[in-house]
């Protein structure tokens, strides 16, 4: 593949890696958490860990909206989809997320009308085209996707659409980070801040992490070099004895965030008192619900939602993995009972989850591969395509 892409150049990466290595204090170990699942995916997809010295470990955080959705909420959505005349709409990556009795895929195969859409506006289109149906949008995601859900509700209100609602599962990132920081077995030296979320909320909300918890944070972009550069900035801070919030992704993330997007969210949604996160349990003020003023677009008010909690099997150690206390492979059911085909824990659900990323991309012994016969590929002349 021809990656002329300036953000994926192997030589630049090697140079950066060398500078990171120079900053390592001999005998000291470092652990940085990348909060966002998009980062986890990039790290594994490009084999980024091969560039890092052994003493630096990346811990994969809770920033995968699909992974943290509790099974009970999936069951609730399937119950809504089973009501008469309902068309449930959802993003494609929602389809495989397991509930207590199976996923959207299973519900669809059993007869529910569940359709994949690329944006909530597509759901609105379906609602306009089917006035005799009740169209529900399964809204998931952090502050990244909340603005488009909110915009869609405003639009539906303006058009006076009667047959559209959203099942709101939007979560907010800061309380999750707080929960991790408050955990007694925290062993982190710093954070890679989430890139997409920060385009909306900016970098200011992270300041307490540096100020009160003494952990540096660098908001990072999604290309592999962005992440390597951010690790370098974290190491630099530790080396200089600084503890600050820095913005590596300033080409996209404004320090103050996007005021307009925040206003739109605030207009349509408000914080819930608490919300369950798969693997982390209940976290106060960590999710959004639709405001009273837009009650007729709130699926939780329009439909009777069972709201039954589904407990994770006792063997799940997702909480420990999310906090970086355990490596994915250290979980007792990793790769046997819990695989990407049959994920029983949260981190195995989407390829942005730590366990799934490790299983899909990193399930081999790096030391053996380095030493073994899988050595350099004998290549013919490189192909040049137009």
């Amino acid at each position: 593949m021809k990656f002329v892409d300036e953000f994926r150049d192997a030589d630049t990466a090697r140079a950066l890696a060398a500078r990171i290595a120079e900053l390592c204090v001999p005998g000291r170990r470092y652990a940085f958490m990348e909060v966002c699942g998009g980062h986890t995916h990039t790290i594994y997809k490009h084999g980024l860990e091969d560039h890092l010295p052994e003493s630096i470990r990346l811990v994969h955080g809770p920033g995968c909206p699909v992974c943290v959705l509790p099974m009970g909420r999936v069951d609730d959505a399937i119950a809504i989809a089973g009501e008469p005349d309902v068309i449930m709409t959802a993003f494609g990556d929602m389809m495989r997320v397991p509930g207590g009795d199976g996923s959207f895929f299973d519900a669809k195969a059993a007869g529910a009308d569940i359709r994949m859409v690329y944006s909530p506006l597509d759901a609105l289109k379906i609602a306009r085209a089917h006035p005799d149906k009740r169209v529900v949008f399964m809204a998931i995601g952090f502050e990244t996707t909340a603005p488009s859900t909110a915009m869609t509700v405003l639009r539906a209100a303006r058009e006076g659409l009667e047959n559209f609602s959203v099942f709101c599962n939007h979560v907010t990132i800061i309380p999750a980070i707080k929960a991790i920081l408050d955990s007694p077995d925290l062993r982190l030296d710093g954070f890679l801040g989430p890139g997409h979320v920060s385009t909306v909320i900016g970098c200011r909300p992270y300041e307490f992490i540096a100020a009160r918890h003494g952990k540096p944070l660098v908001t990072a972009g999604f290309e592999p070099l962005d992440i390597l550069q951010s690790v370098y900035q974290l190491m630099r801070q530790l080396h200089d004895g600084r503890c600050e919030v820095e913005n590596q992704y300033s080409r996209v993330v404004p320090w103050a965030g996007n005021r307009r997007a925040l206003e739109v969210i605030g207009e349509v949604m408000e914080l819930r008192p608490y919300f369950e996160w798969r693997g982390l349990g209940f976290i106060s003020q960590s999710a959004m619900q639709v405001r009273e003023a837009y009650a007729r677009f709130d699926a939780e008010r329009v439909f009777a939602v069972p709201g039954v909690r589904v407990a994770d099997p006792k063997a799940c150690q997702c909480g420990e993995v999310l906090k970086g206390v355990l490596e994915p492979w250290e979980c007792k059911v990793f790769g046997t009972a819990c695989t990407p085909e049959t994920p029983i824990g949260t981190c195995m659900v989407s390829s942005e989850g730590a366990c799934a990323a490790y299983y899909n991309f990193g399930r081999f012994s790096r030391s053996r591969v380095r030493a073994g016969s899988a050595g350099p590929t004998p290549l013919a002349d490189p192909v040049v395509l137009r």
Partner: protein, 395 residues
């Protein structure tokens, strides 16, 4: 930690609105593997996983889901647990693109394929030439000269005759180009809503005139892995042609008959030919996984060497998919003895369909049964089978 503390503190399992239940399927999955000792080292865990993966697959779902048709793990599980289980015989168990059978002295190849692509007409082709080329290619990669095809049609009430004529004309053209004749067929019409316009099934028979026997299990350490041109054109074209995404790219399907190309490779490789495959649903990555599993070799791919058109790469990136998994309809994957690499590359590049051929990697011996990718970024990762993501119908 009490429930209330949990809320202020952030974490607990102990609060809810009262009712709570357990996920039966998850508890059952854990119970099946209960008693496994707690392993201390990563290596041991990896070995246990590989053992678990070799076990006979089980279908857990109660019903067929779209994931079962996506060409990844779910498809494989369904095929092995239902069809191979029911039809078990040595020819089928090889799970090659087509079956190699012997009738008296005649060495034959036999295959079938169904086509449900949507839309029916797309840049570079339509369901008609796709159906002919698909079966011709499955025969070609068995090392056979394709001879005769059958064509079955399932038509939806209301489907325009003009469209049907267009499909038939395109099939006739494709058959002529591939040197095959469509000698038998079948037509069924179902009520409106019970099909989507037009579904086509083709079957084909060919004769294996060369002495070689190709199989995925024949790949050996040291062998070279070759693709015959840029990958992913067909899948990306069809996804974009559906018009659900506001992406425009200048790509056309690569649907083409590869009987000449395959014959050229086999002549050049001689007894150094190990595996030939047609990289359709599931893309090159899926084929490589099948070869790695069957041969218990390690396939090592160099990402920078994999030919992908820039438009395809760009669109795939936007769609969040990896071109390695995107379907092609006119691309060979060949595994050959390293001493024949040059001869095979020369043969490929001499044919218009093989101009963009490239050596993309080699077979190693460790880790057995896995496909590794040396990323352009300078790292290493696994290329696994897809779990079964909901991709649109592309073939």
């Amino acid at each position: 930690m009490s429930a209330r503390d949990g809320i202020t503190n952030g974490m607990t399992d102990e609060i809810g609105n009262g009712t709570e239940r357990r996920a039966g399927w998850a508890e059952e999955a854990v119970a099946t593997h209960a008693g496994a000792e707690h392993l201390r080292s990563e290596e041991q865990v990896l070995e246990r996983i590989e053992r678990a993966r070799r076990r006979r697959p089980r279908v857990r779902e109660q019903r067929v889901t779209l994931a079962h048709g996506a060409g990844g793990k779910a498809t494989q599980t369904l095929i092995e647990a239902v069809f191979v289980e029911a039809f078990r015989n040595p020819v089928l168990e090889q799970l090659e693109d087509g079956a190699s059978v012997q009738v008296g002295d005649a060495r034959l190849a036999f295959t079938t394929d169904s086509f449900v692509v949507s839309p029916l007409f797309f840049p570079g082709g339509d369901i008609g030439d796709l159906a002919v080329n698909g079966t011709v290619n499955d025969l070609a990669v068995c090392g056979a000269r394709p001879l005769h095809l059958s064509a079955g049609f399932i038509l939806e009430e209301g489907f325009p005759i003009a469209d049907l004529r267009r499909v038939a004309a395109s099939m006739a053209r494709a058959a002529a180009a591939a040197g095959v004749t469509i000698v038998t067929g079948d037509t069924k019409v179902v009520r409106r809503g019970q099909a989507d316009g037009c579904f086509v099934t083709t079957a084909g028979i060919g004769v294996r005139e060369r002495a070689v026997t190709l199989s995925a299990g024949a790949a050996r350490p040291g062998d070279a892995v070759i693709v015959s041109g840029p990958i992913g054109d067909h899948g990306v074209t069809v996804m974009l042609a559906r018009g659900e995404l506001d992406i425009e790219a200048d790509v056309v399907s690569d649907t083409a008959p590869m009987h000449e190309l395959a014959a050229g490779v086999l002549d050049a490789a001689g007894d150094g030919a190990r595996v030939l495959r047609d990289a359709t649903r599931g893309g090159v990555a899926t084929i490589l996984n099948e070869i790695a599993t069957a041969s218990q070799g390690a396939i090592v791919v160099d990402e920078a060497a994999v030919p992908v058109r820039e438009e395809v790469n760009g669109a795939a990136e936007l769609l969040g998919i990896d071109p390695l998994y995107v379907a092609c309809e006119g691309r060979l994957v060949a595994v050959v003895d390293p001493s024949r690499t040059e001869a095979v590359m020369t043969a490929l590049r001499a044919h218009p369909l093989g101009e963009g051929a490239a050596v993309i990697g080699h077979v190693g011996d460790d880790p057995p049964g896995l496909v590794l990718l040396r990323t352009a970024f300078g790292g290493t990762r696994i290329v696994d089978l897809l779990v079964g993501d909901p991709l649109p119908r592309i073939c």
